[in-house]
Protein backbone atom coordinates (compact mmCIF):
# COMPACT_ATOMS: atom_id res chain seq x y z
CA UNK A 1 0.00 0.00 0.00
CA UNK A 2 1.37 3.42 -0.99
CA UNK A 3 1.20 5.66 2.07
CA UNK A 4 2.06 9.34 2.45
CA UNK A 5 2.75 11.15 5.68
CA UNK A 6 1.19 14.62 5.64
CA UNK A 7 2.60 17.39 7.80
CA UNK A 8 0.56 20.61 7.95
CA UNK A 9 2.86 23.47 9.00
CA UNK A 10 1.96 26.88 10.35
CA UNK A 11 4.64 29.09 11.88
CA UNK A 12 6.82 26.19 13.04
CA UNK A 13 10.26 27.34 11.91
CA UNK A 14 11.75 26.15 15.21
CA UNK A 15 10.38 22.61 15.15
CA UNK A 16 9.18 21.58 11.67
CA UNK A 17 12.58 20.54 10.28
CA UNK A 18 13.33 18.46 13.36
CA UNK A 19 9.91 16.79 13.08
CA UNK A 20 10.40 15.98 9.38
CA UNK A 21 13.87 14.57 10.04
CA UNK A 22 12.45 12.45 12.87
CA UNK A 23 9.78 11.07 10.51
CA UNK A 24 12.40 10.27 7.86
CA UNK A 25 14.50 8.44 10.41
CA UNK A 26 11.55 6.23 11.36
CA UNK A 27 10.02 5.37 7.99
CA UNK A 28 11.16 5.47 4.41
CA UNK A 29 8.02 6.89 2.83
CA UNK A 30 7.19 10.19 1.14
CA UNK A 31 6.21 13.17 3.23
CA UNK A 32 3.93 15.90 1.94
CA UNK A 33 4.53 19.16 3.78
CA UNK A 34 1.84 21.82 3.46
CA UNK A 35 2.85 25.23 4.68
CA UNK A 36 -0.42 26.89 5.56
CA UNK A 37 0.51 30.51 4.86
CA UNK A 38 3.13 30.81 7.62
CA UNK A 39 4.19 34.34 8.46
CA UNK A 40 7.61 33.22 9.68
CA UNK A 41 10.30 31.52 7.57
CA UNK A 42 8.94 27.97 7.92
CA UNK A 43 8.31 27.48 4.20
CA UNK A 44 11.69 28.84 3.04
CA UNK A 45 13.58 26.93 5.72
CA UNK A 46 11.90 23.59 4.97
CA UNK A 47 12.32 24.12 1.22
CA UNK A 48 15.98 24.93 1.69
CA UNK A 49 16.65 22.04 4.08
CA UNK A 50 15.01 19.35 1.93
CA UNK A 51 15.67 20.66 -1.58
CA UNK A 52 17.70 17.57 -2.48
CA UNK A 53 15.54 15.03 -0.65
CA UNK A 54 12.94 13.69 -3.05
CA UNK A 55 11.02 12.04 -0.24
CA UNK A 56 9.90 15.46 1.01
CA UNK A 57 7.31 17.18 -1.20
CA UNK A 58 6.58 20.77 -0.21
CA UNK A 59 3.54 22.87 -1.11
CA UNK A 60 2.25 26.09 0.33
CA UNK A 61 -0.99 28.01 0.77
CA UNK A 62 -0.66 31.69 -0.12
CA UNK A 63 -2.78 32.56 2.90
CA UNK A 64 -3.55 30.77 6.14
CA UNK A 65 -6.67 28.62 5.81
CA UNK A 66 -6.39 26.45 8.89
CA UNK A 67 -5.15 22.97 9.72
CA UNK A 68 -8.17 21.19 8.24
CA UNK A 69 -7.71 22.88 4.87
CA UNK A 70 -3.96 22.14 4.87
CA UNK A 71 -4.72 18.49 5.66
CA UNK A 72 -7.18 18.37 2.79
CA UNK A 73 -4.68 19.90 0.34
CA UNK A 74 -2.06 17.36 1.42
CA UNK A 75 -4.53 14.54 1.05
CA UNK A 76 -5.56 15.65 -2.46
CA UNK A 77 -1.91 15.74 -3.50
CA UNK A 78 -1.40 12.26 -2.04
CA UNK A 79 -4.35 10.86 -4.02
CA UNK A 80 -3.01 12.62 -7.14
CA UNK A 81 0.36 10.94 -6.63
CA UNK A 82 -1.22 7.51 -6.40
CA UNK A 83 -1.47 7.35 -2.63
CA UNK A 84 -3.75 4.73 -1.10
CA UNK A 85 -3.56 5.98 2.47
CA UNK A 86 -2.42 9.02 4.42
CA UNK A 87 -1.15 9.60 7.93
CA UNK A 88 -1.31 13.06 9.48
CA UNK A 89 1.24 14.24 11.97
CA UNK A 90 1.61 17.67 13.57
CA UNK A 91 4.70 19.71 12.72
CA UNK A 92 5.32 20.94 16.26
CA UNK A 93 6.78 17.66 17.47
CA UNK A 94 3.94 16.73 19.81
CA UNK A 95 3.48 13.43 17.95
CA UNK A 96 6.32 10.99 18.21
CA UNK A 97 7.05 9.51 14.75
CA UNK A 98 8.25 6.27 16.34
CA UNK A 99 4.61 5.13 16.20
CA UNK A 100 4.42 5.49 12.42
CA UNK A 101 5.31 1.82 11.72
CA UNK A 102 2.45 0.80 14.03
CA UNK A 103 0.05 3.13 12.17
CA UNK A 104 1.16 1.62 8.85
CA UNK A 105 0.66 -1.88 10.20
CA UNK A 106 -2.82 -1.04 11.52
CA UNK A 107 -3.85 0.63 8.24
CA UNK A 108 -3.41 -2.74 6.54
CA UNK A 109 -6.15 -4.07 8.83
CA UNK A 110 -8.44 -1.09 9.43
CA UNK A 111 -9.55 1.75 7.14
CA UNK A 112 -8.97 4.36 9.86
CA UNK A 113 -6.38 4.50 12.62
CA UNK A 114 -6.51 7.09 15.39
CA UNK A 115 -3.76 7.87 17.84
CA UNK A 116 -4.67 8.32 21.49
CA UNK A 117 -2.84 9.89 24.37
CA UNK A 118 -3.58 8.31 27.71
CA UNK A 119 -5.61 10.92 29.58
CA UNK A 120 -3.74 10.59 32.84
CA UNK A 121 -2.76 13.20 35.40
CA UNK A 122 0.22 14.32 33.30
CA UNK A 123 -2.12 16.07 30.87
CA UNK A 124 -3.59 19.46 31.85
CA UNK A 125 -6.82 19.17 33.87
CA UNK A 126 -8.93 21.22 31.47
CA UNK A 127 -7.77 19.22 28.44
CA UNK A 128 -8.19 15.91 30.19
CA UNK A 129 -11.74 16.58 31.37
CA UNK A 130 -12.79 18.55 28.30
CA UNK A 131 -11.61 15.67 26.13
CA UNK A 132 -13.43 13.14 28.33
CA UNK A 133 -16.66 15.15 28.20
CA UNK A 134 -16.45 15.61 24.43
CA UNK A 135 -15.72 11.90 24.03
CA UNK A 136 -18.75 11.00 26.13
CA UNK A 137 -21.01 13.41 24.21
CA UNK A 138 -19.88 12.17 20.80
CA UNK A 139 -20.23 8.60 22.05
CA UNK A 140 -23.85 9.17 23.09
CA UNK A 141 -24.85 11.14 19.99
CA UNK A 142 -22.97 9.25 17.30
CA UNK A 143 -22.45 5.84 18.84
CA UNK A 144 -18.67 5.87 18.53
CA UNK A 145 -16.31 5.24 21.43
CA UNK A 146 -13.01 7.08 21.17
CA UNK A 147 -10.26 7.19 23.76
CA UNK A 148 -8.91 10.60 22.70
CA UNK A 149 -11.18 12.66 20.54
CA UNK A 150 -8.79 15.53 19.90
CA UNK A 151 -5.67 13.68 18.83
CA UNK A 152 -4.43 14.85 15.43
CA UNK A 153 -2.13 11.87 14.88
CA UNK A 154 -4.32 9.74 12.60
CA UNK A 155 -4.44 8.00 9.28
CA UNK A 156 -6.96 6.59 6.85
CA UNK A 157 -7.23 4.75 3.58
CA UNK A 158 -8.47 6.33 0.37
CA UNK A 159 -11.52 4.05 0.20
CA UNK A 160 -13.10 5.71 3.26
CA UNK A 161 -12.12 9.29 2.47
CA UNK A 162 -15.50 10.25 0.99
CA UNK A 163 -17.30 8.97 4.07
CA UNK A 164 -15.21 11.02 6.49
CA UNK A 165 -14.58 14.09 4.35
CA UNK A 166 -14.56 16.94 6.85
CA UNK A 167 -15.76 20.50 6.43
CA UNK A 168 -13.99 22.08 9.42
CA UNK A 169 -11.00 24.14 8.43
CA UNK A 170 -9.65 24.95 11.82
CA UNK A 171 -9.76 22.89 15.02
CA UNK A 172 -12.62 20.45 15.18
CA UNK A 173 -11.51 18.26 12.26
CA UNK A 174 -10.73 15.30 14.51
CA UNK A 175 -14.08 15.56 16.29
CA UNK A 176 -15.98 15.95 13.02
CA UNK A 177 -14.13 12.94 11.65
CA UNK A 178 -15.15 10.90 14.71
CA UNK A 179 -18.80 11.85 14.16
CA UNK A 180 -18.58 10.67 10.55
CA UNK A 181 -16.92 7.43 11.62
CA UNK A 182 -19.84 6.83 13.98
CA UNK A 183 -22.44 7.82 11.42
CA UNK A 184 -21.02 5.50 8.75
CA UNK A 185 -20.13 2.72 11.21
CA UNK A 186 -16.57 2.58 9.88
CA UNK A 187 -14.32 0.12 11.73
CA UNK A 188 -11.28 1.76 13.25
CA UNK A 189 -8.25 1.06 15.37
CA UNK A 190 -6.54 3.15 18.05
CA UNK A 191 -2.81 3.32 18.66
CA UNK A 192 -1.49 4.48 22.01
CA UNK A 193 1.01 7.33 21.64
CA UNK A 194 3.08 9.47 24.00
CA UNK A 195 1.59 12.52 25.65
CA UNK A 196 3.76 15.47 24.71
CA UNK A 197 2.36 18.92 25.39
CA UNK A 198 4.77 21.36 23.77
CA UNK A 199 3.06 24.71 24.01
CA UNK A 200 0.06 25.42 26.18
CA UNK A 201 -1.01 28.33 23.97
CA UNK A 202 -1.12 26.16 20.86
CA UNK A 203 -3.47 23.34 20.03
CA UNK A 204 -7.11 23.33 21.06
CA UNK A 205 -7.84 26.21 23.44
CA UNK A 206 -10.94 26.52 25.59
CA UNK A 207 -12.42 28.87 22.97
CA UNK A 208 -11.80 26.32 20.21
CA UNK A 209 -13.43 23.67 22.41
CA UNK A 210 -16.49 25.91 22.77
CA UNK A 211 -16.68 26.37 18.98
CA UNK A 212 -16.45 22.58 18.54
CA UNK A 213 -19.31 22.12 21.03
CA UNK A 214 -21.46 24.58 19.06
CA UNK A 215 -20.82 22.61 15.86
CA UNK A 216 -21.84 19.24 17.34
CA UNK A 217 -25.62 19.83 16.90
CA UNK A 218 -25.05 20.72 13.22
CA UNK A 219 -23.10 17.48 12.70
CA UNK A 220 -25.90 15.65 14.47
CA UNK A 221 -28.60 17.20 12.26
CA UNK A 222 -26.58 16.28 9.16
CA UNK A 223 -26.29 12.70 10.39
Amino acid sequence: MKIFVIVPVYNEEDRAIETINAILSEVNISIIVIDDGSTDNSYEMIKDEFKTDKRVIIYDHVINLGKGAAMKTGMKIAWKMGGEAVIFIDADGQHNPKYLPKFIEELEKYPIVFGYRPLDKKSPWIRRNGNKFAGWLIGVLFNVKRKDLLCGFLGFRKDVYKKINWKSNRYGIETEMATRVGKNKIPFSEVKIDTIYIDKYKGVTIFDAFKILVKIPFWYINK
Binding site: Y59, D60, H61
Partner: protein
Protein backbone atom coordinates in the same frame (compact mmCIF):
# COMPACT_ATOMS: atom_id res chain seq x y z
CA UNK B 1 -33.16 59.20 30.10
CA UNK B 2 -36.35 60.89 28.92
CA UNK B 3 -37.86 60.61 25.47
CA UNK B 4 -36.21 63.80 24.14
CA UNK B 5 -32.71 62.64 25.19
CA UNK B 6 -33.34 59.26 23.58
CA UNK B 7 -34.52 60.98 20.40
CA UNK B 8 -31.33 63.06 20.32
CA UNK B 9 -29.21 59.90 20.75
CA UNK B 10 -31.12 58.16 17.94
CA UNK B 11 -30.76 61.19 15.68
CA UNK B 12 -27.02 61.41 16.40
CA UNK B 13 -26.67 57.69 15.64
CA UNK B 14 -28.55 58.06 12.35
CA UNK B 15 -26.43 61.07 11.32
CA UNK B 16 -23.25 59.15 12.14
CA UNK B 17 -24.38 56.13 10.14
CA UNK B 18 -25.40 58.24 7.13
CA UNK B 19 -22.04 60.04 7.30
CA UNK B 20 -20.22 56.69 7.40
CA UNK B 21 -22.29 55.49 4.42
CA UNK B 22 -21.52 58.75 2.61
CA UNK B 23 -17.76 58.24 3.10
CA UNK B 24 -17.99 54.68 1.75
CA UNK B 25 -20.08 55.93 -1.19
CA UNK B 26 -17.49 58.63 -1.96
CA UNK B 27 -14.72 56.02 -1.87
CA UNK B 28 -16.87 53.90 -4.22
CA UNK B 29 -16.99 51.06 -1.70
CA UNK B 30 -20.77 50.88 -2.15
CA UNK B 31 -22.96 51.42 -5.19
CA UNK B 32 -25.40 54.33 -5.65
CA UNK B 33 -28.35 51.99 -5.17
CA UNK B 34 -27.01 50.62 -1.89
CA UNK B 35 -26.16 54.09 -0.61
CA UNK B 36 -29.63 55.51 -1.35
CA UNK B 37 -31.32 52.39 0.02
CA UNK B 38 -29.54 52.78 3.37
CA UNK B 39 -30.12 56.55 3.44
CA UNK B 40 -33.81 55.86 2.92
CA UNK B 41 -33.77 53.30 5.76
CA UNK B 42 -32.15 55.84 8.10
CA UNK B 43 -34.60 58.56 7.04
CA UNK B 44 -37.44 56.21 8.04
CA UNK B 45 -35.55 55.51 11.28
CA UNK B 46 -35.22 59.26 11.99
CA UNK B 47 -38.89 59.86 11.14
CA UNK B 48 -40.01 57.16 13.57
CA UNK B 49 -37.60 58.45 16.24
CA UNK B 50 -38.99 62.00 15.90
CA UNK B 51 -42.67 60.99 15.53
CA UNK B 52 -43.03 57.71 17.44
CA UNK B 53 -46.79 58.24 17.84
CA UNK B 54 -47.42 57.33 14.20
CA UNK B 55 -46.81 53.70 15.20
CA UNK B 56 -49.52 53.69 17.87
CA UNK B 57 -52.22 52.10 15.66
CA UNK B 58 -49.79 49.26 14.98
CA UNK B 59 -49.08 48.88 18.71
CA UNK B 60 -52.76 48.22 19.40
CA UNK B 61 -52.90 45.61 16.63
CA UNK B 62 -49.88 43.81 18.07
CA UNK B 63 -50.97 44.19 21.72
CA UNK B 64 -47.83 46.11 22.61
CA UNK B 65 -47.67 48.94 25.13
CA UNK B 66 -44.66 50.99 24.07
CA UNK B 67 -43.11 52.00 20.76
CA UNK B 68 -39.80 50.94 22.33
CA UNK B 69 -41.07 47.33 22.54
CA UNK B 70 -41.98 47.39 18.88
CA UNK B 71 -38.56 48.90 18.10
CA UNK B 72 -36.80 46.14 20.04
CA UNK B 73 -38.77 43.36 18.34
CA UNK B 74 -38.22 44.91 14.91
CA UNK B 75 -34.50 45.36 15.62
CA UNK B 76 -34.06 41.75 16.75
CA UNK B 77 -35.83 40.48 13.65
CA UNK B 78 -33.70 42.60 11.33
CA UNK B 79 -30.46 41.71 13.15
CA UNK B 80 -31.29 38.00 13.05
CA UNK B 81 -31.96 38.20 9.32
CA UNK B 82 -28.75 40.17 8.66
CA UNK B 83 -26.71 37.75 10.82
CA UNK B 84 -28.03 34.69 8.98
CA UNK B 85 -27.43 36.33 5.59
CA UNK B 86 -23.89 37.36 6.60
CA UNK B 87 -23.16 33.91 7.98
CA UNK B 88 -24.21 32.22 4.73
CA UNK B 89 -22.22 34.71 2.64
CA UNK B 90 -19.09 34.31 4.79
CA UNK B 91 -19.32 30.50 4.58
CA UNK B 92 -19.65 30.71 0.79
CA UNK B 93 -16.70 33.09 0.59
CA UNK B 94 -14.60 30.81 2.82
CA UNK B 95 -15.33 27.85 0.56
CA UNK B 96 -14.41 29.86 -2.55
CA UNK B 97 -11.19 31.18 -0.97
CA UNK B 98 -10.21 27.67 0.14
CA UNK B 99 -10.68 26.30 -3.39
CA UNK B 100 -8.73 29.21 -4.87
CA UNK B 101 -5.82 28.89 -2.44
CA UNK B 102 -5.66 25.14 -3.02
CA UNK B 103 -5.70 25.63 -6.78
CA UNK B 104 -2.83 28.15 -6.52
CA UNK B 105 -0.86 25.73 -4.30
CA UNK B 106 -1.29 22.87 -6.76
CA UNK B 107 -0.47 25.02 -9.80
CA UNK B 108 2.80 26.25 -8.34
CA UNK B 109 4.49 22.89 -8.88
Amino acid sequence: MNIITLQIVLLAFAILMVYSLFLHWKKKDISNNLFFFWVFIFLVFVFIAVFPKILEPLLKELFLVRVMDLGMIGTFMILTYVTIENNIKIKNLETKIEKLVRRIALKKK
